[in-house]
Symmetry: C2
Subunit: 264 residues, 2 copies
């Protein structure tokens, strides 16, 4: 069991930021990553459709033999976690609870959350935050243009700064002290977001927080690889060309093995 891989899935390239953190923190673990690029994005789709896609992605990874499933997609984490935990025996970690945990741990009391339409309209971040910090005030904003800006490679472009200014203005008006980047694409826009919110607001990247939670869970459950040599395999549902090209920005290095598979 210890020698089995960790499975990670996302709608596309965004979850590679989580993969990157896991590679850094857990170099002995083998990682299997699935990007559902034939049906990306999930953020504009309904909870029912996202849940169906998430179950199919998880099914594929479980068939490969994994000891732990990481849902590296905020939208799927926001709407499909209970169904995933019911359907599969392996432990399932989403990015949402670790993100909420990190926000509260940092001492945040007026917490802003940004994410896709699906994540924000689910209200799941608000629920997770208020469970941990019932007295906190939570404000949220959907930022639909952030994902296409990051995928276009315009993360530090003046357009990204202007869009960030517009989306974040209502949160700044509420005098937030913490901002949860509730989508795995958003850390790429860090410079633009930081420029808008100023130095005083704590930015929470759920990718890093999730990797820490994975480390803790592997330890607790006695599932950590003892003498593994690491390694990653990437699977996608559309042809790999675009995933390989754009993915580099997210993973921070070249993607070696990328295979196309059919799911669903």
């Amino acid at each position: 069991m210890k020698q089995q891989a960790i499975g990670i899935f996302d709608s596309g390239v965004g979850g590679l930021t989580v993969c990157r953190e896991l590679m850094r923190q857990l170099p002995k673990e083998q990682l299997l990553y699935l990007g559902d690029t034939a049906r990306v994005p999930y953020g504009t789709k309904s909870p029912v459709t996202v849940t169906q896609y998430a179950l199919e992605a998880a099914e594929f990874l479980c068939q490969q033999g994994i000891k732990l499933l990481v849902v590296a997609c905020n939208t799927a984490s926001a709407v499909a976690l209970p169904q995933l935990r019911e359907a599969f025996k392996v432990p399932v970690i989403g990015v949402l609870e670790p993100g909420a945990h990190a926000a509260v741990s940092s001492g945040g009391n007026r917490i802003g959350v940004v994410g896709t339409e699906g994540t924000i309209s689910s209200g799941s971040y608000g629920q997770a935050l208020l469970k941990l910090a019932p007295d906190a005030a939570v404000f949220s904003a959907a930022c639909p243009l952030f994902v296409p800006l990051a995928e276009e490679g315009w993360s530090d472009h003046s357009v990204a700064h202007q869009v960030a200014g517009e989306y974040l203005a209502p949160l700044l008006a509420e005098k937030i002290d913490t901002l949860v980047l509730g989508c795995t694409h958003y850390p790429l826009l860090l410079k633009a977001i930081r420029a808008v919110v100023g130095p005083g607001v704590i930015l929470v990247d759920s990718a890093a927080a999730t990797a820490l939670e994975v480390v803790a869970l592997l330890e607790c459950a006695g599932l950590a690889a003892v003498d593994g040599s690491g390694g990653q395999r990437f699977f996608v549902t559309d042809v790999p060309t675009r995933f390989r090209r754009i993915g580099m920005d997210f993973l921070g290095s070249e993607l070696q093995s990328v295979e196309q598979v059919h799911i669903g």
Copy 2:
């Protein structure tokens, strides 16, 4: 046969601009529209995947009984038309050839084309234009942020103007006299695009050109409805909420009947 409906499909809401033109020019015709909202967008996906989705969408519409199929999606028109024509008996009209035809008819000789990554990298517009006007010079640019800007309702926002300025600069440097809006979302950005290109460049909207071609084909083939009362039915593959909300901007009026269906 004359009393059968016209089938129209697109990856999502964009094709509603074609539907709108057909409603205006052919008020007696019944229209069946399918938006593949569970798998939208097509513009960033591979030709193989887009062709598979297009065949499934066409199959659904043909099962409803249609006399003509309109592929109201530039990406699908650019990569899947031959396969669609081979697979189905009904006449199939894409948006690409009518757009190219209109550009050449307008006297364009230095023709710019803008579209999704899939449409532009297929090179199909260039081929269609050069078949009609072998001496024309064709320049193209993918504009991946135009679709999310239109769907966000930021069509006339200063961000849209800035993005248009950036994408169109290389085409303006080539002194284009005509610009084909090679994506059904782009007519929504007309103001921003016009402001950038100035009054001297002819803008070609393939939606209007396609509707004219449908009118002509129905006449030629003796397929026009004689005393129909029109009417539209809309089908989507995800839940209808977002489609109904965003679709209004594209159709120019409220969408009455929207039903969710499963295809593929």
